[in-house]
């Protein structure tokens, strides 16, 4: 799971929260998947043939998750440093970028006016719920 899904998580988060270049998504994804696949091969080679192609910490199954995220994000940042970062206006999601003529979109694309979506209540309650989870994990059952 970590070989594919963690790089994908990283791409979503980097896409939403950072101005990484448009081309960095696929490259970052491939970099993360490549690390995941290499890790599996390295573990197999070590135990079956005694050949170590990656340092042991990079093969560890628990370390693989944060490392996969690092490799993916790192590749995306490097690509963006080389090609430039994406301006905010070009990061606004739009279905017209790939579906300009799709008739099913016309009734969905214009979301209902939702000024209540700017209420702080969901954000505040979200922090409370996350705080409860952190408290249970790192205080009550630590």
């Amino acid at each position: 799971m970590g070989a594919f899904v963690i790089p994908l998580l990283t791409v979503y988060l980097m896409g939403v929260f950072t101005p990484v270049h448009r081309k960095s998504g696929t490259i970052g994804l491939l970099a993360g998947v490549a690390y995941g696949a290499l890790r599996l091969v390295a573990a197999k080679l070590a135990t079956s043939a005694g050949i170590l192609i990656l340092p042991a910490p990079l093969i560890d199954s628990f370390a693989a998750y944060p490392l996969s995220m690092l490799f993916t994000a790192g590749a995306m940042v490097l690509v963006s440093l080389a090609l430039g970062f994406e301006p905010a206006a070009q990061r606004i999601p739009s279905t017209t970028k790939f579906d300009p003529r799709d008739p099913t979109r016309s009734s969905v694309s214009v979301a209902p006016d939702d000024s209540a979506g700017r209420s702080a209540l969901p954000a505040v309650l979200s922090l409370v719920v996350v705080g409860l989870g952190l408290w249970l994990s790192f205080v009550v059952f630590w």
């Binding site: 899904v5 998504g25 042991a56 628990f62 370390a63 790939f98 209902p112 979506g117 996350v130 952190l134």
Partner: protein, 437 residues
């Protein structure tokens, strides 16, 4: 299981399936099917997100995993999944919702181009159809161990899967969400009953500590504390020095006295890994985005994850603790009172607890709850994977200029195809175990 228990299972789940088939109006358009008509209030979306997250593999496979990993695994749900939901609803899904996107992969094309979208869809389909296979396998274990059906259990699994597919095909996202609400009641009741019975038998927290310590004095610290260092001990007695050296290439310390290799992982690294696993579940899976996209407004979408999060915080404790209680009762998978073929891993621990600790009537309710969990997630995954395949691959790459009615028909057929395809993973899961962390 006796006639009363089977009757309860059929009646309770049958009622939910009939409700799911009859209650929502039949989806007439792509927007109806893929986006639930954008009509659902926050509490339905929240309960549906929770019900989709908790399936029979969470109850059976995760308990099998918690049997070894201990309470540290709870962090996956308590922090990872809940935190992921908050990020999804507050930040990640909002622009997708406002842009009228049908799948979360569409966002990747908008942001990074078509290849990112295609890769995302393929990864999700592969990953989530394996989870569907997990669910089928857990149902097989339950029918086999609790129901005593043996290999005939696969017929029962087929019936359950067919029913889940039926209301998904007809009702789409809205039908799935409405059924989830009813199924959640069953799931929660079942979990609380089973927990109460086994917890009481074990003797509560102190009784559990004593039982774990009786197996191994170090076990309580490892199993009952998130902050405990994770220790993996590999028995290398009988291995040649060369094979032992190869094992040591992956790290660890060798003990000549006990002929074992011990690998230690610090608690902080274990927690980070588990949190990322949980977060990936919430954010990457389109079945979760699909629940949120059915909300009637952004405000409803953001509030829904509060409901889902609170339910997850509470029910994760009652559900996952069963794995640790099982470890207190059975020192190793080999000691589980099941057929030898089911003792290769600890995956049978949850069905064993149902079989041996519930009485007539309660057994039926607990199994009904397990089935409800399976059906709700099965339906959720089926709908989401169908959406990905229809929108991100078929409509985008193969047949881009067809109308919504055509895509709706294709989506329904792909639900069936995805469901049948998931069974290809089952032999592998039975042999290797379901929770491969």
């Amino acid at each position: 299981m006796g006639a009363i228990d089977w009757s309860l299972v059929v009646l309770l789940n049958g009622a939910v399936v009939v409700y799911a088939l009859v209650r929502p109006r039949r989806s007439q358009s792509s927007q109806d099917w893929f986006l639930g008509g954008r009509s659902l209030p926050w509490w339905i979306v929240g309960v549906s997100a929770f019900a989709t997250a908790i399936d029979s593999s969470d109850l059976v496979a995760d308990c099998g995993g918690v049997y070894s990993l201990g309470i540290a695994y709870f962090v996956t749900n308590w922090v990872g999944t809940v935190g992921g939901w908050v990020l999804l609803a507050q930040f990640v899904a909002v622009p997708m919702y406002r842009a009228g996107m049908y799948t979360n992969s569409e966002y990747l094309e908008s942001r990074f181009g078509p290849s990112a979208r295609l890769l995302s869809s393929l990864v999700q389909v592969q990953y989530r159809t394996m989870v569907m296979a997990n669910i089928s396998t857990t149902l097989f274990l339950t029918f086999s161990v609790v129901g005593g059906l043996g290999n005939e259990s696969w017929w029962a699994v087929g019936v359950v899967v067919s029913l889940a597919s039926a209301y998904t095909v007809l009702g789409g996202s809205r039908g799935v969400a409405l059924a989830d609400v009813v199924q959640s009641v069953l799931m929660i009741a079942a979990s609380l009953i089973l927990f109460g019975v086994v917890w009481s038998y074990v003797g509560g927290w102190h009784g559990l500590e004593a039982r774990l310590a009786a197996h191994d004095p170090a076990l309580p610290a490892q199993m009952l504390h998130v902050g405990g260092e994770r220790t993996e001990t590999i028995d290398v007695s009988g291995q040649s020095p060369e094979l032992r050296l190869r094992q040591l290439l992956l790290g660890g310390e060798y003990s000549e006295q006990s002929q074992t290799i011990t690998r230690r992982t610090p608690a902080w690294l274990v927690c980070i890994s588990f949190i990322l696993v949980g977060m990936a579940y919430s954010i990457v899976n389109h079945e979760q985005s699909m629940r949120l996209f059915a909300a009637r407004s952004v405000w409803d979408m953001k509030l829904s994850v509060i409901v889902a999060g609170l339910l997850m915080l509470v029910m994760s404790f009652f559900n996952l603790m069963m794995g640790i209680l099982g470890r207190g009762l059975y020192a190793s998978p080999a000691s589980l009172p099941v057929a030898e073929s089911l003792r290769q891993t600890a995956d049978a621990v949850y069905p064993v607890l149902i079989r041996d600790f519930t009485t007539v009537g309660f057994k039926g309710i607990v199994v009904a709850g397990l089935l409800a969990a399976a059906i709700s997630t099965y339906a959720g995954i089926g709908a989401a994977m169908s959406a990905l395949l229809t929108q991100d691959i078929y409509a985008r790459l193969i047949a881009p200029n067809r109308d919504g009615v055509h895509y709706l028909r294709v989506g329904r057929w792909l639900t069936v195809a995805v469901t049948l395809g998931s069974f290809l993973y089952v032999p592998f899961l039975l042999a290797q175990g379901m929770m491969m962390f």
